[in-house]
C-alpha cells in the first residue's frame, strides 16, 4: 500500500486518481471475499449466536433470576402411574389388572414459562445448563486449538527450517502421534484421570484439554513444515538471509507469519472437531465432571442402556444439546471453508 501511495506523488491531481482507483489492502480484500459467500456469513451468524448464548446468557440468568447451572429446582407434579398385568382367573378367562397410583415427581418438570426447556433428572434448569455447557465446550475448543497451533508452529517451524536430522526426528514423532488411535487413547487417559482421587474433579478439564492437544497437534506441525519447506526457497528469504538476521527471527518473524492463512483455516476447521471429541468424552462420562453441565453429558441422559424413558418421552432434555453441537460445528466449518476461499481464490474448494 505504501508503494502505491508513493507512486501517486508523480501525479499532480490526486483527487482525479481517487475516482479512478481504489486502494484495497490484502486484509480488506480477504474480508470482502469472505463476506461475499453466503455460507461463511451464515456460519459467522451461527457462531455469534452460540457465543452470545453461552457467554452472555449465563450473565443475564444470574443477574435476573440469580441462579447458576447447579441450582436444583423441586417442582411438585403429580403423575399418574398405571401398571397393567394380565392373569387368568379361576374361571379360565383372562383378566387385565390395572394398578393406578399417584406419585409426586419433583424433577423432570415439563416446559414452562419459568423453565423454558423444563428441568432434568436432577432438577437442574435445562436451558441454563445448555448455556454453561456451551461455554465449557467453546473454552475447551479454543484453548486446545491454540495449544495445538503453538506446539505445531514451534516443532513444524524447526523441522521445516533446519531439515536433515532435525526434520527426520520431529517428523517421525509426528508420524507416531498421528498413528495413535485417537478416541481409545483419550478414553484410557480420561479414565486414568477420573480414577486418581488426588486430582479434584474440577481440575479434570485441564487434563482433558492437555490430552486432546496431545492427540491433535500433529496436523498443525505438518502444515507449518510443509509451508516452510516451500517458503524458504523463495526470494524474500534470500533477502532476509543477506541482511544477516538471527535464525530464530528468520523462522518466527519471516517464515511463520506466511503460514498463518493456512493455519487459521485449519484451526477454524479443527475447532468443530475438538467440540465433537469433548462431547463424546462427556457422553461417556469421562469429560466434564458432574454436576457441571456439558452438551455431551446432557445427550447421555437419552442413552437407552439406562432406560428408555428419557429417550422416548423427554426429548426436551437431550435434543436441544444435540442441535447446539450441530450448529456450532457447522458454523465453524462454514467459516473455515469461507476463509480458505477468501485467502486464496485459486484454492476454491
Amino acid at each position: 500500500m505504501l508503494q502505491t501511495e508513493q507512486s501517486y506523488t508523480d501525479f499532480n491531481d490526486e483527487a482525479v486518481l481517487e475516482q479512478n482507483f481504489r486502494v484495497i489492502s490484502p486484509g480488506r480484500m480477504v474480508a470482502k471475499r469472505f463476506f461475499k459467500s453466503k455460507l461463511s456469513v451464515a456460519g459467522l451468524i451461527m457462531i455469534i449466536f452460540v457465543f452470545a448464548f453461552s457467554f452472555i446468557g449465563p450473565m443475564i440468568i444470574d443477574a435476573t433470576w440469580g441462579y447458576k447451572e447447579t441450582q436444583v429446582f423441586r417442582i411438585e407434579r403429580v403423575s399418574d402411574m398405571v401398571t397393567t398385568a394380565d392373569f387368568t382367573g379361576p374361571d379360565g378367562k383372562t383378566y387385565t389388572y390395572f394398578d393406578k397410583s399417584k406419585t409426586v415427581v419433583l424433577f423432570k418438570a415439563p416446559i414452562s414459562s419459568e423453565h423454558w426447556l423444563g428441568t432434568d433428572t436432577s432438577g437442574f434448569d435445562i436451558f441454563t445448563r445448555l448455556m454453561y455447557g456451551g461455554r465449557i465446550s467453546l473454552i475447551i475448543s479454543f484453548i486446545v486449538i491454540f495449544l495445538e497451533i503453538f506446539i505445531g508452529v514451534i516443532l513444524g517451524g524447526l523441522a521445516g527450517y533446519f531439515g536433515k536430522w532435525v526434520d527426520q526426528l520431529i517428523m517421525r514423532i509426528v508420524d507416531i502421534f498421528a498413528s495413535l488411535p485417537g478416541l481409545p487413547i483419550l478414553l484410557i487417559l480420561s479414565a486414568t484421570i477420573s480414577s486418581i482421587e488426588s486430582i479434584p474433579a474440577e481440575h479434570r478439564i485441564y487434563y482433558l484439554m492437555a490430552f486432546i492437544t496431545l492427540m491433535g497437534w500433529t496436523g498443525a506441525a505438518r502444515i507449518v513444515r510443509g509451508q516452510i519447506l516451500m517458503l524458504r526457497e523463495q526470494e524474500f528469504m534470500m533477502a532476509a538471509e543477506t541482511t544477516g538476521i538471527k535464525t530464530m527471527h528468520k523462522i518466527f518473524r519471516h517464515l511463520v507469519p506466511n503460514t498463518m492463512p493456512q493455519l487459521i483455516v485449519s484451526a477454524t476447521l479443527g475447532l468443530g472437531g475438538v467440540i465433537l471429541y469433548e462431547s463424546t468424552l462427556s457422553y461417556l462420562g469421562l469429560g466434564v465432571p458432574f454436576p457441571r453441565a456439558a452438551w455431551g453429558s446432557m445427550i447421555a441422559l437419552a442413552d437407552p442402556s439406562k432406560g428408555q424413558e428419557i429417550l422416548a418421552s423427554y426429548p426436551n432434555m437431550w435434543v436441544p444439546a444435540g442441535i447446539l453441537i450441530v450448529i456450532t460445528v457447522l458454523g465453524f466449518s462454514f467459516i473455515g471453508d469461507g476463509l480458505r476461499d477468501a485467502f486464496d481464490p485459486r484454492m476454491k474448494r
Binding site: 508420524d175 507416531i176 495413535l180 488411535p181 481409545p184 480414577s195 463424546t280 437407552p304
Partner: protein, 332 residues
Amino acid sequence: MLNYIIKRLLLALLILIGVSVLIYMLSMLMPADYIDNQTAAALANGSMTMEDVNHLKKLYGLSDKSIIGILKSYLSWLKSTFTGDLGFSFLYGKPVKTVLGEYVWTSFIIAFISYILQIIIAIPLGVKAAVRQYGPYDYTVSVFAMIGTALPSFFLAALLMNVFSIRLGIFPLQGLTTATKVFAPDAHIRIFLDKAWHLVLPITVLTVLNVGSTMKFTRTNMLEVLNSDYIRTARAKGLSETTVVYKHAFRNTLIPLVTSLSSMLPSLFGGAMITETVFAIPGIGYMALRATLQGDIPFIMGYNMFLSILTVSGMLLSDLMYMVVDPRVKLS
C-alpha cells in the same frame, strides 16, 4: 520401486514400535487395573487380603509399576507379540487374538456396507455439485453433507432410535438379535434377516456421518480437474458437456478418489466404538470400550495396536495405490 516399498515398510515398523511404547506406558499407568476393579469388593468385605491381591497382580505381571518394571514387561510383551501371541484378556477370559477374531467381523460387515453406500451416494452427488458449482443444487448438497459430518454419532443414533424404534416401531432399539425370539439352529435365513433388521439403524448412522467427507472430496477434486487446461481443450473442440464431464473430467477425478477410498479399507476393521455401544451391538468397538473402562490391559494393548496397524497400512496402501492408479507418479 521395490526400494521405495522396503523403505516405507521399515518406516511403518518404526512407527508401530513407537506407538506400542506409548500405548503400553499409558495403559500401565492406569492406576486402577482390572485386578483392582475385580478385587475391590472382596477386599472391602475381608474375603481377600492385600497379599492375595498382590499375588494375583504378580501372576498377571502387573505388580511392578516402576519405569524399569514397565520396561521389562513391555519387552516381554513385544517378544510375545512378534511370535503372534497377544496375551490373555482378563475381562473376556480368552486370548486377545481370539476375541479380536470373533468380534471383528460384525464390525467389518457394518462398516463395509456403510462404505459401499457411502461410495454409491457420495460420488454422484459430488460430481453433480461440482458441475453446478455455486448453484442451488451445489449449496443444498454441500450443506446437507456438512450437517452429516457435524452430527455427533450418539445424537444421530438417539434421534433415529426415538423416531424409528420408539415412535414408529419399525426397527429394534438395541442389540444384534431379538432376545425373545428363538430360532431353530438351521434357520439360517431367518437368523440372517433378524440380524440385518437390527443393523439397519447403525449402518444408517455410519453412512450419514461419513458420506459428507467423501462427497466433499469428490467435489473438490472434480472442480480441480474441471478447471484444468485439457478440459478447456475438450470443450473447445466441441465435445458435448456429458462427454467432457463424465469421460474426460470424471475419469481423472478417479485418481485421488480411488487412492483415498482404498486407504480407508483397513480402517473398516477397526469398529465404531460409539455407534456400536449406543446400539449395544457386540462388535470390536463395543468390546474395546468395555475393556478400556475396566482396565483390561492385554486387550487394550492388543486392540490399540490393531488399530495402529490398520492406520499405518492405510497410509501404505494409499501410497501404493497412487503409484498404481496414476501413471505419471514415479517415486524414488
